[in-house]
Symmetry: C4
Subunit: 262 residues, 4 copies
């Protein structure tokens, strides 16, 4: 067995009401992971299962308390229906997404097995769309596996991804393979520079998502992170303007300053 | 299961009359895919099965309507015998061919399982042969797995590939492994620069193929594509001639202009 | 079967008293392998099993007598309890550690199967932590899979690895996967330049280890190796100081001199 | 099944008298393949089986008659006992040796299955040892998996490989894994520049081999090839000496001239 899901809580499938699945894994601008992690925290989701895989790299992580642990993907749930929500939600995030086709296909299929077990009706995946430049008003692009979902995306003024271009990684595969099992899905991609973990992009993606799936969510903490990031970028830009030096030097400094902010 | 074929139509094997298989996948100059796609369109072939594989890369595509789909290879059929043709034909094309030995061997064997199921008697694979320079009169090279087919290729003035050199990818493997199962095959390679999707090369390959397998086919639309491509190349060359600049600059521009035209 | 363990002695599991497992494989500064090899020699451990694997590279080694042998990992045991020790010990070292995720996970799981068979209660893995510069007083960093072990590490003044950074290779995976089977473990990493097989780093790691696991061990031979290495480095540095030449030349010489000393 | 052996002749295992196996595959200086191919030709060996593998690259070859075929390893036999020889011989050569650990281990084990079936008592593998410079009197190095064979190698003045260094590829693995099955073996490596297919190195290896295994073999044709190669190298060297030009230019030309001669 190359990958396995370990259940930490014996979550009875019938205990979830019309659940949907929302996935955000590390990727471009870390948009997906930032977004889903924020939802997990704000909605007080409960950690109930974790996935380990031979297809992750052969290293381990050390927690703040010095405890070593394996790389993993994480499964959390929130029974939003209990407080009047339309759907219960299963969230997926994690340390890593596999960088091999076999790993991606295997893990995505294990996630879909779990989705079927809990009778998930829809899957939403979040990610980033790298443009190479910082935008103060990042757009949200979308694609889906059904025309009815495409229509809903358009109703929320999400720009439909009509380029025919490829979407790389788990956020595309999960809904592509999900459709083969009769589960419809949509993928929302936030515009991002690709140079940093982009809280602003995560925020605009969540703004669209929560309307689509009718979830109430406080975006305040993410907005603050996004503002701090914007300030940081503005400060870096001002410093550059006031530094003496040849144009050549400035462009080199800019390159340094705009390196990845994790 | 790393790869699987999904049938969209329940095509009864006995409903095909003496079928042959014609394959053209993405590759050098996209000659094979262009050729087979043209046949599928002109012969009003019917889409009946699709192959998905873990050995394809882990990305997905988005259609013009915004609908996301998995990478796939496609199976189409044409009952040409109903309008007096000698053979019914199964066509194979797709988004991608695997870039690993295991992927190639696995998929080719699944295609051969399908070929055996439908009692395919011959396999023709189409591809490109890169020369690095644009030719107005591209040649067609051939190889086969039986001396009788070699003779037929020579009769059609196809140049026999006697170099002993390797043929890379599915167009070689499919007929090589096909022979192990008692299905004879030929591989036709159109001369191409390798710098662009080459409709002219696809056209000359099809001219030879349709004589070999006695299929009537309108090559007009492909000829127009080829003419447009030729005009485009001529225009680019003229522009270069009239541009001022040092020789060094010209050669750099030429390099840019001759980059891949998809 | 991609990997297998061959038993050279029929070591009855019940013959070992409360065994612990200590692993040191080739890696950064070769710290782990040097340390465990020293323990094997000083404690007169007995060679009882060896592991071969498809996931090792496809080369073989030649012994001093001209005899060719496969790459392998080695299993040794020492019945320290017979001379009053608290634990019997199983040692693991070898020629190589796999450089693929699948190889690492497979082999680590086979080692854990063996550990379970012999009812191993704790696993200690040794390795190096590369800093890029030579230290005369290398530190020892530690991580573990239980808070009680973390406490013991702190009691021995081992610096707890709280960075959250990754630990690459078998020394992390073995205790990470071991915990999944209910075997607690710790990983000790000796500070090392990373430029040479570092006997001094191995010595300081063993100094900490033998207190943790209450083993008596003569570190004299390793101390001599470490002194010789230190002298060699000092000599190299002095030579550089007394050599005439521009600064540029000196820095190039230094680079040569500090290349890996195996 | 990732690899398979196809039998072309139903060679009864009991029909071979005390067979030994001699393998030479493509590799350094092509020494092994040149040597074994020469033996196959001179000893009129019979082609009886071929091995195909998913672990070979995904290309095919075209014969001189235009017929396409898969990459393969080849099995030939010679009943030398019928003309008074001490052993019958199974030869292995081929187009390719796998460049992945899994491919190498899998194929070598399939060859050993065949060796066991035919009750092979000894395995000899031939290869090249690259030194980077052309020698007129190339040496032969040897290693083996038993001390009795090491003694025989020494008796034939083969230099025993005592460096402890690795031997890469099938010539090492076959005898290393063979020993695990109780079949002893030796590996003979001819000194070679590594820049060309080296008939002289193949000749000196065969001179040693045929004494070890008591086979009569005409080395004349190989000697002629070796002389032609030596003449060619001498001519190239003389040309260089007589060419005008700066030292820098000469060294560049030499580099060109000494590129691989296949």
């Amino acid at each position: 067995m190359k990958s396995r899901i370990r259940f930490l809580k014996d979550l009875d499938p019938i205990s979830l009401k019309d659940p949907i699945l929302i996935q955000g894994l590390p990727g471009v601008g870390n948009v997906g992971k930032l977004g889903v992690s924020h939802m997990i925290q704000e909605l007080k989701a409960i950690y109930f299962a974790e996935l380990f895989s031979y297809t992750f790299p052969y290293h381990v992580l050390v927690n703040n308390d010095g405890i070593l642990r394996l790389l993993r993907n994480e499964f959390w749930f929130s029974q939003l229906s209990k407080s009047g929500g339309k759907h219960d939600v299963i969230f997926i995030t994690g340390d890593y997404q596999s960088q091999t086709p076999e790993g991606q296909f295997t893990i995505v299929n294990m996630i879909l097995d779990l989705a079927e077990k809990y009778k998930v009706s829809q899957i939403y995946t979040l990610g980033g769309y790298a443009t190479g430049s910082v935008s103060k008003y990042p757009r949200v692009f979308g694609t889906a596996t059904s025309l009815s979902l495409i229509k809903q995306l358009k109703d929320e003024e999400i720009e439909i991804n009509e380029s025919g271009g490829p979407i790389v990684g788990a956020s595309g595969l999960l809904i592509g393979l999900g459709k083969m099992r009769g589960i419809e899905g949509a993928c929302l991609l936030g515009e991002t520079s690709g140079f940093m973990a982009d809280a602003l992009s995560a925020k605009v993606v969540l703004e669209k998502l929560i309307k689509l799936v009718e979830i109430e969510l406080d975006l305040g903490p993410l907005a603050i992170k996004a503002q701090n990031l914007t300030k940081l970028i503005d400060q870096m830009k001002q410093k550059q303007r006031h530094r003496p030096g040849t144009r050549r030097q400035e462009s080199e400094e800019e390159k340094d300053d705009l390196s990845y902010i994790g």
